[in-house]
């Protein structure tokens, strides 16, 4: 299935783009997406953390992604 990735901060620089489409197996979870991103872009492995959000909420590793869903890559935040 195809999912849409949207990246911010250093994640956008690692991907070299704000948005991209990714092919991943049906029933993939947040953990699967993160694993695939880290495999395709090893720079992600060096970050202090890598969270993913769907529907404007942080999602746990076992959260299942569905076809065409938007997954937001959230590298370590640093507001304030």
């Amino acid at each position: 299935m195809t999912i849409k990735i949207i990246a911010f901060g250093i994640a956008k620089e690692i991907l070299n783009q704000r948005e991209m489409e990714v092919e991943i197996h049906e029933g993939a979870t947040v953990a699967d997406v993160r694993k695939q991103l880290e495999a395709d872009y090893p720079a992600f492995q060096k970050l202090a953390s890598l969270s993913l959000a769907v529907g404007e909420e942080y999602r746990e590793d076992d959260f299942t992604i569905t076809e065409n869903q938007e997954v937001i890559i959230i590298p370590p935040v640093a507001g304030g």
């Binding site: 970050l47 590298p75 935040v77 640093a78």
Partner: protein
């Protein structure tokens, strides 16, 4: 909710506005945190800061912080104003104001707000030096 004011702004922040929002007849104490851009980080001179936000979720997460405060502290009103875009040295990145009938609660609630904001709100900060730039907190 009329006791919460969340703003994510492209223009300069004004702490007096946050304090004015939280001022109310029932509160005698307002505590504010103002985060400004430091000139030096670990000895390196910063030229400017760039803030980027995932807007809808940043606003949602800031609102969660404010709602948590109203639910768990004897607080009357909460304002959280955050800046995005480019900031010079001394510029105001964030203003958080909390009003409570008693000041001790206002200190605790305001500290909770800034501590949590730095952990949960999807806003990113890039420090630009004379000889490079770095995304703050990105690496261990």
């Amino acid at each position: 909710m009329k006791n919460i004011e969340i703003l994510l702004l492209e223009n300069d922040l004004d702490s007096a506005k946050a304090e004015a929002f939280v001022t109310n007849d029932e509160s005698g104490g307002i505590v504010s945190f103002v985060g400004t851009v430091r000139k030096f980080t670990k000895g390196k001179e910063v030229i400017r800061l760039e803030f980027e936000a995932y807007r809808p979720m940043a606003i949602k997460e800031m609102r969660k912080i404010a709602e948590h405060i109203l639910a768990h502290y004897p607080a009357r009103r909460v304002a959280i104003h955050h800046r995005v875009g480019v900031l010079p040295i001394g510029g105001i990145a964030v203003v958080i104001s909390v009003s409570c009938p008693h000041r001790k609660d206002a200190f605790l609630a305001c500290q909770y707000a800034i501590d949590t904001l730095k952990e949960t709100v999807p806003i990113w900060k890039k420090e630009v030096f004379t000889d490079g730039e770095i995304w703050v907190a990105a690496h261990p």
